[in-house]
């Protein structure tokens, strides 16, 4: 999903938007006490195509540390992944990458 209107944007604003879109973005999954560990693992495998070990590693990180960065890359793809995770009722956000 892209947040761009029809109005002609100022060049500086456009440049900032372009830069923001190009920055690495992270998809972060946050812990909640309700979603089952096995369910979270299944959703990571389904949404990101992770092998079982990687999905379990991220699931455990969410469980033990409260959050895990599960994917990094372009802004639009990050938003798509967050939407997918929300559709499975996981708590997920996008963040600017380091």
């Amino acid at each position: 999903m892209k947040v761009v209107g029809d109005v002609q944007e100022a060049p500086a604003k456009k440049a900032r938007a372009k830069l923001a879109a190009e920055l690495p973005w992270s998809v972060v999954v946050h812990n909640d006490p309700v979603n089952l560990m096995s369910y979270v693992t299944l959703i990571f495998r389904k949404v990101f195509g992770f092998p079982r070990e990687k999905a379990e590693r991220h699931m455990l990180e969410v469980h033990q540390k409260g959050r895990s960065i599960v994917w990094s890359g372009g802004r639009e793809q990050a938003e798509f992944y967050v939407q997918q995770l929300h559709s499975h009722l996981l708590l997920a956000t996008i963040e600017r990458g380091d």
């Binding site: 999903m1 947040v3 309700v34 089952l36 369910y39 929300h86 559709s87 956000t93 996008i94 963040e95």
Partner: protein, 161 residues
Amino acid sequence: MEFYETTEGRLGLRDIPPVLADLLRQIPHSGDRDSDEVEERFFPHPSHDPEEEGLRDDWRAHVEPELHDAFQSARSVVEADLRGMKDGDDAFALEFSKGHAEAWLSALNQARLALVTEHRFTEKQLSGARPSQIRNERDLALLQLTLYEYIQHWLVEVLEP
């Protein structure tokens, strides 16, 4: 109560005691709650960054209605399956297509999240011992959560790639 999978791609529960059959029938309704807190949990913000107000507005306008429809659709699938529950002498039986397993997982998750949010159960209460007697709605909600969690575990196993 026993879970099973048929060679024809159907999933089933048999020997369901009447009290658990009643709790199963509540799955679609448990997840369909008109409460701000439940709404907030079902439709979380996509970003915690205060500079991302535009994204949050966009999410509210475009993504949330899609999610709302998807959640409603899953509950409808489960509601229709539950209408096919068969009444035996002293137990019930239910069978549904394996293709509905994802809808069941979603509806069960919705129900569990709504129950936990509404009754404000803490993580400690959720992982602690269950009450030995059902004395009030809160105890009943814990029983619902236990049953729904049990079914979710089974469905996850069924859907494992």
